[in-house]
Symmetry: C2
Subunit: 104 residues, 2 copies
C-alpha cells in the first residue's frame, strides 16, 4: 500500500491553502466534499469533465496544502476535507470560501 | 491621466480573489492596507524588498481581481482595500484571510 503524506495541522500555511483553493476544479471538489463528508476520488470525478491525470494533480495540490485528507483503502482512495484542522488554523476561512463558492 | 479599470462589485469572482491573495507579497500588501486604510504604491513598496516591476504586477493582479481600488493622483497612485465590496460578495472571507495572515 502506497502511503500518502499530509502536512501536520500546525504546518498548514495560508498561502498554500489559498493557492489550492484558487482553481475552479479544486473549488468544486472542495464544495462537493463539504456536502458529502468523505468520497472516493473516482466518485468525485463524476461530472467534473477533467482528465484523470489532471484530477490526480488537483487532489495532490489539495492534500499537500492541508485542505484534504486522503485515506488509501485497497485500490481506492477516500478523500475528505480537513474541516477542523483548517478551522483551527484559519477560523472562518473555509466557511467563507464554501459560502462564496455556492452555485448561483 | 491614465485611468485604471476595476471590476464592478458584482463581477468580482471568488477564484480570482483567492488567486490574488495566494501570494506572500500580495498577502503582505493586503495586510498593510488593512492597517493603513489608503496608501501610495510607493509608500507600500518600502520594506517589501521587491523590484518595482514585480510590485506593479502585484498591484495589477490585486486590482483586476477586485481586491484593491487604485486612484491616480497626479503622478502617484493611491491604493486601498475594497473591504465593503469583498464583504458584500464573500462575507467573512477578507477578515478570515487577514486574521490568518497576521505575523506569528
Amino acid at each position: 500500500m502506497r502511503e500518502v503524506t499530509h502536512p501536520a495541522t500546525g504546518a498548514i500555511r495560508l498561502v498554500e491553502v489559498l493557492r489550492a483553493l484558487a482553481d475552479p476544479v479544486r473549488l468544486e471538489i472542495v464544495r462537493r466534499l463539504a456536502g458529502t463528508g468523505e468520497e472516493s476520488c473516482n466518485a468525485l470525478a463524476g461530472n467534473l469533465d477533467v482528465h484523470q491525470t489532471t484530477l490526480s494533480h488537483h487532489y495532490r495540490v489539495l492534500r499537500e496544502a492541508g485542505v484534504t485528507w486522503t485515506t488509501v483503502q485497497g485500490r481506492s482512495r477516500l478523500v475528505r476535507l480537513r474541516h477542523d484542522d483548517l478551522d483551527a488554523r484559519f477560523p472562518g476561512l473555509l466557511a467563507a470560501v464554501l459560502n462564496g463558492a455556492r452555485p448561483s
